[in-house]
Symmetry: C2
Subunit: 188 residues, 2 copies
């Protein structure tokens, strides 16, 4: 059981991470938003690395839950794909947040090693799941694409990560443009 404060810290820190990046938020930012002292944040997360690791772990667990749920509901490939896209749509609508892969990838070489390992796990899990969805969707004639499914999964994931970054520089239409293009490229 996580305490209320610990959960709030995680919420705020994840938000800041996807808004400003890992090297542009501090314990003080978090504590002042919560109306507590920075030492209280250190009580729950002794180091910034431990905090960063927990942010990624929670995202991994959320992703696993979303995909398991979609799987247990026996949704069609296109419906499952749309649930996947919703993750990115939500980031965009939530003050132009960038996805975790984008935020952490850009700062990757400045991250503590424990976080780097966790990011690797996360990216591979996303790629594994999407690859499987594309593969089975192609078998059932729902998706059409050239090449192997993992390549396509990689292309889609990198496009979406880049699209969120592009959207904050230019405007939201570029993001929706990418989504439409990705969908068009999967359709017959």
């Amino acid at each position: 059981m996580q305490t209320d404060t610990k959960n709030k810290i995680l919420d705020i820190a994840a938000d800041l991470l996807q808004d400003k990046g890992f090297n542009a938020f501090s314990y003080h930012h978090i504590s002042s938003l919560l109306g507590i002292k920075n030492a209280a944040v250190h009580y729950h997360y002794p180091t910034k690395e431990s905090l960063g690791i927990d942010i990624i772990r929670r995202a991994r667990s959320n992703f696993a839950q979303i995909t398991q749920e979609a799987s247990s509901l026996h949704l069609y490939p296109w419906q499952q794909f749309d649930i996947f896209l919703d993750i990115y749509r939500k980031n965009l609508s939530d003050n132009h947040k960038v996805c975790l892969m984008g935020s952490l990838g850009a700062a990757y070489f400045t991250l503590p090693s424990g976080m780097q390992e966790e990011v690797k796990l996360m990216v591979n899990e996303i790629l594994d799941w999407l690859t499987q969805l594309l593969e089975s969707g192609r078998s059932s004639n729902n998706f059409t694409f050239k090449g192997d499914a993992r390549s396509k999964a990689t292309l889609i994931t990198t496009s979406l990560a880049g699209a969120l970054q592009m959207a904050r520089i230019t405007d939201n239409t570029h993001f929706h443009t990418v989504i439409d293009q990705v969908k068009a490229d999967l359709s017959n």
Copy 2:
């Protein structure tokens, strides 16, 4: 005419920016790599914003030069596209640097306003050029793709930005995978 030192500062700062991100390098990093004092860097670039702006301006000017040269040589669409891809290939081979759009997009909301403006100009120039190349390449039956050229240009640019970030997290094959997929999606 720029001085030798000023050019070296720009080289090192651009490198650090594409390696660690704007919020993870300091005047001290630059000066110590050059064997000078941090005040000497401030002499050439009074503020970090002025330094950041110059990094982007130089990249814009380099891009304009590359594309103008390709244009004046009357290269085929595929050759021009390959020159464009070389920019990204070079970033990858140069210690897994990320492209400027990716680095600055991830930290966008922490950037001084002058830099934000400069990034916008850069992204639009890249998009304009690629859109035109795709359009004329399609007219001449060299490229095949659905939808309008600017959408395709957006998809390609975001894929490549994301691919460089993904490559440092996982491995280089993911980057080449994206390049191959992008090319396949442009071919007949």
